[in-house]
């Protein structure tokens, strides 16, 4: 449309009526008025144009101020320590964001794995399998309207849904409150009793637990135990009144008769239970709900922009609908779908509210997730936490963390643009 205004400018600059007559006779009064009027209209138009330019410039200025102020505030804290350290209450200067970077990646991985197939599948269904009968068409329209509405639901409401649906699972598997190992544990966990040995310094041995319902054990006869390396051995007992063993190695394999051991759960990376609790799995799935409408709408738009003639040619060659989708529409729409997906992932990485609701506001974590049910910190939540503090150091840390987050987003967006360009060339 950009060519219209210049052409229009010429049109509207038709000479004022007065000037046609030359200066021989003074122009009649109404023509004079008309000329004033058109001058005024042109002035308005000019002013409006200037207003447009100024207001449009405003957004550039705002972006520049935002980036400049955050860079100035955060540059002092932009150190290697920031990338490798973890949050510290006592020494703010040495705080870092490594766990939150890992956490963000973990959550976004889960989010991508669940939202992208679902979203692209839905888009294919809505665009390529248009129903013919009337009730199905109405259902189709309803789904379409519903998706548009889902896109407008505030992300914090999705957070609350994730809290009920993934964290507590509507309390179907019992209420999870403080006890870490509640719920229905499916795999990746082994239960032991932990008993103090004679070695002192809190040294313990583990005794495999047979009955989950029994929270403690009293050692009265020798049992099979496991040491730190996982080797099994028979536990020996020491009765009060008899001489204590003196050999340190033996001490480590001996417990007092009648000692009481508490329950201890050892989890490996595949630990999985229902409900998910405050885990990164729950957070990732919640984020998937948030970006699902975005993925669907972007994929639909790019499927819609595939020219119908391509599909018709495919049908004309005798391909089925499904073959057409797989061989024609989907490859043609892929660059657009990928770009939309990466932009949606960018949204997911920057989203704080749902993660905050699902995982809680704690940031004291010094590693990435240890198992699938582990809590994590994400970059936006960490920034929110730091930015909400009074100390100047945390304020600067927040700005530095924002720079890191923005760089990550920039990298993702560049990847999107690069992919789009490359696929265009190949296509």
């Amino acid at each position: 449309m950009s060519s219209v205004p210049t052409a229009a400018g010429d049109l509207s600059m038709e000479p004022a009526p007065g000037s046609l007559r030359g200066s021989a006779a003074p122009p009649p009064i109404e023509l004079q008025a008309a000329s004033d009027n058109s001058r005024r209209r042109k002035l308005y138009s000019r002013l409006f144009y200037i207003l447009c330019v100024l207001i449009s410039l405003l957004s550039v200025v705002v972006l520049a101020v935002l980036l400049a102020s955050i860079t100035i505030q955060g540059q002092g804290m932009l150190t290697w320590q920031l990338l490798t350290g973890s949050h510290s209450e006592l020494y703010p200067e040495s705080s870092g964001m490594w766990p939150s970077i890992i956490g963000s990646i973990a959550i976004c991985g889960i989010c991508a794995l669940s939202a992208l197939p679902l979203g692209i599948g839905t888009a294919i269904f809505l665009e390529e399998f248009k129903p013919k009968s009337k009730p199905l068409r109405m259902l189709h329209g309803f789904i379409q309207l519903n998706i548009a509405n889902l896109a407008g639901v505030p992300s914090i409401v999705y957070g609350l849904l994730g809290l009920s649906l993934f964290v507590f699972m509507f309390n179907v598997f019992g209420q999870i409150q403080v006890n870490e190992s509640a719920g229905l544990e499916l795999m990746g966990v082994k239960r032991y009793y932990q008993v103090l040995t004679l070695a002192g310094d809190g040294h313990t041995v583990l005794i495999p637990q047979d009955d989950d319902a029994e929270p403690t054990i009293q050692i009265d006869q020798p049992v099979i135990a496991v040491d730190d390396q996982g080797n099994e051995f028979e536990l020996s007992l020491w009765e009060i009144g008899t001489p204590r063993p003196t050999d340190p190695a033996e001490k480590r394999m001996t417990v007092r008769k009648g000692a009481i051991g508490g329950s201890y759960a050892r989890t490996n990376w595949s630990y999985f239970r229902l409900p998910f609790g405050r885990s990164f799995l729950a957070a990732g799935l919640t984020l998937a709900l948030v970006i699902l409408p975005i993925v669907i709408i972007a994929s639909q738009e790019s499927l819609r922009s595939v020219p119908p003639s391509l599909r018709e040619a495919s049908f004309g060659l005798g391909a089925t609908v499904w073959q057409t989708v797989r061989n024609v529409s989907l490859p043609a729409a892929l660059p657009g779908i990928l770009t939309g997906s990466i932009l949606a992932m960018g949204r997911a990485i920057g989203e704080a509210a749902p993660v905050l609701v699902v995982l809680g506001a704690t940031v004291a974590k010094n590693s990435g997730p240890q198992n699938m049910m582990d809590n994590v910190v994400t970059m936006p939540v960490l920034i929110f936490n730091w930015a909400g503090r009074q100390q100047a150091t945390y304020q600067e840390l927040a700005a530095a963390a924002i720079i890191v987050l923005l760089v990550v987003l920039l990298l993702m967006n560049s990847a999107a643009i690069y992919l789009r360009q490359r696929m265009r060339i190949e296509a």
């Binding site: 449009s56 789904i143 505030p154 920057g350 704080a352 905050l356 920034i383």
Partner: protein, 291 residues
């Protein structure tokens, strides 16, 4: 295979049902308590769910939170709607392709900035700036700075949706207007914008609903006191801000105070859902078709 895809599509309806069931189910726990009534909730002007540990002292009247939300939202709209529309008009009617190639990416970058970053910007730059210009008339946390930040956030959305609507207006209308001797101002404001009005109004409504649901900016910059005033210089806890504070406070699950957050959430959901639905309906129903 088609069945799998159909299940994917039906899942989206499942999400909506899930949201509604969850909100109604959880806020039922709140309204069931004899300490609260729906009437008091909808008309009360005091909200002290976070401040009072004792249930007897807690007052649950939604209006302070609503007024906080609307103060922030109105300030945001005063900024985002005119600026967004004018930028859209400029982009679609006047700009050269060179200006466009700068302006469009700028707006996309602003749209991609995480909201928590804008919240930080509000407390880092906007709020001190306001205090500087007015000689300290504003609170440290106030509705205006949060509103301005939310306005910046909504601007790209208003702009891109309005621009789409303006683009859909056929060239013939513009040429007709210019042929009748209209100036560019008259053409765009009296012909093109009215022709795209349904799309523009729907863009406004969608931006409005986005601003109401915005969370991180208000949680950082709008303060934590729920006040029932129209003074934009004061602290103003919004509905979303309250939900975040409640979650942050790690209040015990099961108390009436805790469940009050679901009552707030259902109010928020109803308002935004109505806005979005209205926006979608206007866009579909009144879409001018020029084919």
């Amino acid at each position: 295979m088609v069945a799998v895809l159909a299940v994917c599509a039906l899942m989206t309806i499942g999400i909506t049902i899930g949201i509604v069931v969850m909100l109604i189910g959880q806020s039922w726990n709140f309204f069931q308590s004899e300490h609260v009534s729906v009437g008091d909730f909808l008309t009360g002007t005091h909200w002290t769910a976070l401040q009072s540990r004792e249930l007897d002292n807690a007052e649950f009247g939604i209006w302070p939170l609503l007024s906080g939300t609307f103060r922030v939202t109105i300030i945001a709209m005063v900024i985002a709607l005119p600026c967004g529309l004018v930028t859209a008009v400029y982009l679609s009617e006047f700009s050269s392709s060179r200006v466009r190639s700068i302006l469009k990416p700028t707006l996309e970058v602003i749209a991609g900035i995480p909201t928590v970053v804008l919240g930080y910007f509000a407390i880092l730059v906007i709020s001190p700036g306001l205090q500087l210009f007015t000689g300290g008339a504003f609170d440290t946390f106030n509705a205006t700075s949060a509103g301005i930040a939310v306005g910046i956030l909504c601007l790209p959305m208003v702009c891109s949706l309005s621009e789409d609507a303006l683009h859909a207006v056929p060239r013939a209308l513009r040429e007709g207007a210019y042929g009748l001797g209209c100036t560019p101002f008259e053409t765009s404001m009296k012909v093109v914008v009215p022709a795209a009005l349904s799309g523009i109004i729907s863009a406004f409504l969608l931006a409005f609903s986005r601003a109401i649901g915005e969370t991180m900016v208000v949680a950082l910059a709008a303060g934590t006191r729920a006040t029932f005033t129209f003074d934009p210089r004061e602290q103003s806890q919004t509905m979303t801000g309250f939900i975040v504070e409640m979650i942050k406070s790690e209040s015990e699950y099961g108390t009436v105070q805790y469940f009050s957050l679901y009552a707030v959430a259902i109010t928020l959901f109803v308002i935004t859902f109505a806005m979005t639905l209205l926006g979608q309906m206007i866009r579909r129903r009144y879409q001018e078709s020029y084919d």
